[in-house]
Symmetry: C2
Subunit: 360 residues, 2 copies
């Protein structure tokens, strides 16, 4: 993997990645905007025991692109600079212009509840220069490169001693609030281990101490034994509808070996994990012959945790629909109680996805 580190005119970082050497004469561009005025802060929610991020500057986004203007497409017209430059590279990563977490976050205000600086990082990951592509449409070695990029970013962001957890994710589709359709994801680097990974951490550590193997490792072994919810079984990686899916069409993608994070994957594992992910995404888009909206989350081990064997890198994909045209809404029981009601059996949804033929 080749890496070229650049600086945008407004000071934000831009890093390009490629399978080939990257021409050094590329110059970083940026959309005009009021970046840098970021003043996010954290407030403690005492009844839920969690931090809430306040990023009021995000509401005042001054950037209003002309129609059809895509800020994630390589800049080709000097009158309309975009966030990424022209050039021969595969993946671009840059600091979000309106970050919820920022290395420049000011000291927090004093309030009724504890507050803290919203120190951290929010990066945008442009998956490809092609605006008409999608994560699932990328070539396998391009996807494998992206997995390596996620590992590299985890390493770079994790080098900040105040960062405790790095979460790469993709929100796909208007149904989850995405307005830019150029294939891209985001990375949040938090100054704490957020509630969901923290809960997983506690449960994985407890299981590892008791059972001597990873929690997800055991679950994957069970899914492979039962096999009826499997979507992909490669030599190094798997994809399946988990027995405990909270969303209809929920899928988990993971290496077979309990790697704690992206950085621990071998080249062969990256390639097969890319195949598992691509298989899943092509099945999604093939199911109803339309782009399938979802939220994709990558869970890694918390940075400071030394019990690495307890963790198992995996992607959890939560699709927006429960049947054609019918959204899965989160309402009273999901949001208020935290208890999901799934109207579909994982076994049935797995059968539907198994029946979608794809060529990867």
């Amino acid at each position: 993997m080749h890496e070229l580190i650049l600086r945008k005119p407004d000071g934000r970082a831009l890093t390009l990645y490629s399978r080939r050497p990257i021409p050094a004469q590329i110059h970083a561009t940026a959309v005009p905007g009021e970046g840098g005025g970021a003043a996010p802060h954290l407030r403690w929610h005492p009844l839920r025991g969690e931090w809430v991020v306040y990023a009021p500057q995000r509401q005042e986004r001054t950037f209003l692109p002309p129609p059809q203007f895509n800020p994630l497409r390589p800049a080709t017209d000097a009158r309309y600079p975009t966030e990424v430059p022209e050039g021969d590279y595969d993946v671009a990563v840059f600091d979000n212009l309106f970050p919820a977490l920022s290395a420049q976050a000011p000291p927090p205000p004093e309030l009724l509840v504890p507050t803290a600086s919203a120190h951290g990082h929010c990066e945008v990951v442009v998956f490809t220069r092609d605006p008409a592509s999608s994560l699932g449409a990328l070539a396998l070695d391009h996807l494998a490169l992206l997995l390596e990029v996620w590992g590299r970013r985890t390493q770079v962001l994790g080098a900040d001693p105040r960062v405790k957890y790095v979460l790469p994710f993709e929100n796909r589709g208007a149904e989850v609030g995405v307005t830019l359709h150029h294939p891209h994801g985001q990375i949040y680097a938090y100054p704490f281990v957020p509630p969901v990974p923290a809960r997983m951490q506690a449960l994985q550590l407890e299981h590892y101490a008791r059972a001597g193997e990873g929690l997800l490792e055991g679950l994957i072994a069970g899914e492979l034994r039962e096999s009826r919810r499997m979507l992909y079984q490669g030599t190094e990686a798997v994809a399946f509808v988990p027995v405990c899916a909270r969303y209809p069409y929920e899928v988990w993608v993971a290496p077979r070996r309990p790697c704690p994070g992206f950085a621990d994957l071998s080249a062969a594992e990256r390639l097969d994990l890319a195949r598992a992910l691509k298989t899943t995404l092509l099945k999604y888009d093939g199911l109803w012959q339309r782009p399938f909206p979802y939220v994709l989350i990558w869970y890694q081990a918390p940075l400071d945790d030394t019990a690495r064997g307890a963790y198992h890198l995996h992607a959890a994909l939560s699709p927006s629909y429960r049947m054609p045209g019918r959204l899965k809404y989160l309402a009273g029981t999901e949001l208020g109680a935290g208890t999901f009601v799934n109207d579909a059996l994982p076994e049935e949804k797995a059968r539907e996805l198994q029946a979608v033929a794809v060529s990867v």
Copy 2:
């Protein structure tokens, strides 16, 4: 409060409530449908440490009403029976035809992960016979009656020894997935304390043991002292945008006194709590001169917890919009990490709502 307990032709319970004696000759009606075939079950999610409810029969809802047919309107045409009868009453409560939790839930299947019976109750609460009304439009004494009904249902459902937590809520608006616009809410009675109330329970018990007062009691005292986020300050109840709001326009409504549940409210407290709630809802609808969609959750003490002083009944209202026409989407950081990013300061949103004049 007067109560009339009836049984629907298909065996489901229907209970009517009124401020006046209820004529005894009312007969319970029911929509035709395949109720009773409920076969929900629970599966344990080992990575999140929570139960997931599977209710596959809900996806096959056979009931397709003719256009304009409202199953929550009092039945006036024998050809189209509805879920509630004609008659002089204020509030109707009946068993959901497609319950996610049911007293008739069968033994669970054996699977890779622990499973359990989805024993419990799902009730529909019809707030009024008037389909054109809304929770906020109800007269104060009608709202106060509804608070008493929620207390009564908590008592009735809590008498089932397998029920551990009772959660009344209202999903309002197409934005949160509601297709029936007749004013109504739901009550879920769970066979466990769900994750969100369980987390609140642990934090409230810890705070109570340490500080000798309720966590919310102290927070309300602080909000009253600061006053800038208050929407309503009555003699018995308050409404405010909490300092740690996760949603723009989030509001909490609570009695001043730390009552653990509805059943502990005095008549004066119910009336003032009704006024606090009505004030909030009228401000919501008045803000943009349109019905304001939200999820309203009532948090009470867990049924089996004897440390009642630690708890403080309150409603948390989570609106769908962050500004006119712009939904607050839950995506990567909210769903994947459990960390909310709020683009608005609670102080600003409180000012907006304070500026909406209402007559309660």
